[in-house]
Amino acid sequence: MAVLIEASDLEKRFGEILAVDGISLEVKRGEVLGFLGPNGAGKSTTMKMLTGFLEPDAGSARIAGIDVSDEPKRAKRQLGYLPEGAPCYGDMTARGFLTFIAEIRGFDRDEAKRRVAAAVEKTQLSSVLEQKIETLSKGFKRRVAIAQAILHDPQVLIMDEPTDGLDPNQKHQVRRLIADMSADKAIIVSTHILEEVEAVCSRAVIINRGRIVADGTAEDLMRRLPYHNTIAMHVPAGRAEAVTKALTEFAAIARVETVGTANGRVRLRASPHAGAPIPSELAALIRSRLIEAEEVHVERGNLDEVFRQITTSDAGTSHA
């Protein structure tokens, strides 16, 4: 598969602050890369260098094999970009704005019309086409900006927080749109909503303080989680001790903790040894109610915790 986005040792300094400190990554055709990190980690700055908005202080960025600094116009033609905050010209109508973008992208009048119509259909904007963008709701504004980015059907799509500020339905729509386009494009999506990574990304990179601290699939990242694959259950307060004892007898269970007590029930968490699957005997026992538990579930862990763990620990510089 062709590598369409390539960053090597990108560096950017703003005054005293090293915003991006040597980021290298590759995104191939067909991949959707989730770009994660706390605010100020350097996500947006990295994207700005990839798209040619900012000149890197060191390192280089290539879009579809074209160096962004050497041939900015050619590289930008291969690229659709949704900047942070989805800026659009508010005094234009959605149609006027998209037509402007189509013209500047070099399409003639008929082709521009066709492209605008196609992008409008994909982003479901037809009801607001003749309205000024500044009068639109946040969700529509964002979709106008997304339409702008995908209008020329670029090989490379870079989107800075594409679902920020959208309601759940709109989020779902945008994610589906991204998933639908992903087969023949290389896409980078930055977000701090981790469910988004699970929903659309084939790979995730976490950056913190300008460096990549984790790079892998969403599952890879989850495996690093302390509570991944643990069994959580609620048991009546009187039975807690007995159940704990019963669980501890399993060789597969590393430890059992009491997490909390509420409404006369105790919440227990049993962790299997690293990576081990939950033994089927245990499942059978629970089902047969020999271990008396109300509400049992296996925790997958969630990316939020990996995220917190990786980005708050000082030693969080190991690569996955």
Binding site: K48, P72, K76, Y81, P87, D91, R105
Partner: protein, 248 residues
């Protein structure tokens, strides 16, 4: 080259239409026409002079431009930066020069429209007498060039700030200095301490002295070169400021 013209004109068209999508265009045009008329008739004594020319009309253009042109220029880059659209604009497949020139030409064309709307003045003076229309044409050309120079300065300042009010005030002040530098009042202060070449350098930078000559019908090369090189210089600075400040 073809692509340069195409991209520049697409940017310019968008920008030009943008003026008319807000009340700014209407307000500006009305005030411009009202003020040029008022100055010519009441302050310049258009009728009392009993001469068939537009000198009292052109005479006050530098002072009007001083306030009105920075108002046209202030939004050019400050608004792009404030709303973040500069990031969109600069990641489109266009060069910075296409964007800068497109914006500048749009604003210049807008002022051109304002000037065209003063043509009733020209018609009036032709009805009332038989003026030297060559001088009047030179006046219009000179006025348009001078507006372009004010505008380039304004555009350049607009790239330095996200705040349109600051862009306006700084640009108006700079334009004021450029106009004033030809006045005896200013030159006398300079003469007291500055070497002669500096005094003549400052006086030759004056919008007023160049414009006066053009308004009298003398469209000489030095004045053309003055305005055009000032525009070129300001736009060049504009390019640097956009580059420096775009990410702030």
């Amino acid at each position: 080259m073809h692509e340069f013209v195409r991209n520049t004109s697409i940017i310019a068209r968008r920008e030009f239409v943008a003026y008319f999508s807000t009340p700014l265009a209407t307000v500006f045009l009305i005030i411009f026409i009202a003020l040029t008329g008022a100055f010519a008739f009441y302050v310049g004594g258009f009728f009392e002079r009993g001469q068939a020319d537009l000198a009292p009309f052109f005479q006050y253009h530098p002072w009007l431009y001083l306030l009105l042109v920075p108002a046209v220029a202030m939004r050019l880059w400050a608004e792009e930066r404030k709303s973040g659209t500069i990031e969109l604009l600069m990641t489109l497949p266009i060069s910075p020069w296409e964007a800068i020139l497109g914006k500048f030409l749009a604003a210049w064309a807008f002022i051109g429209v304002a000037l065209l709307l003063t043509l009733p003045m020209w018609i009036t003076v032709n009805v009332l007498g038989s003026p030297d229309n060559g001088v009047i044409l030179a006046g219009y050309v000179g006025s348009f060039l001078m507006a372009g120079a004010f505008l380039a300065v304004g555009s350049c300042i607009s790239a330095l700030t996200k705040n349109q009010v600051i862009a306006f005030i700084v640009a108006a002040t700079l334009c004021f200095l450029l106009v004033m530098s030809g006045l005896e009042l200013v030159l006398n202060v300079l003469r007291a301490w500055a070497p002669g070449f500096l005094v003549s350098a400052v006086s030759s930078m004056s919008f007023l002295s160049h414009f006066d000559r053009i308004a009298k019908g003398v469209l000489d090369v030095s004045s053309l070169v003055f305005y055009l090189s000032l525009i070129a210089f300001a736009l060049f600075a504009n390019r640097i400021f956009v580059e420096l400040k775009k990410a702030d």
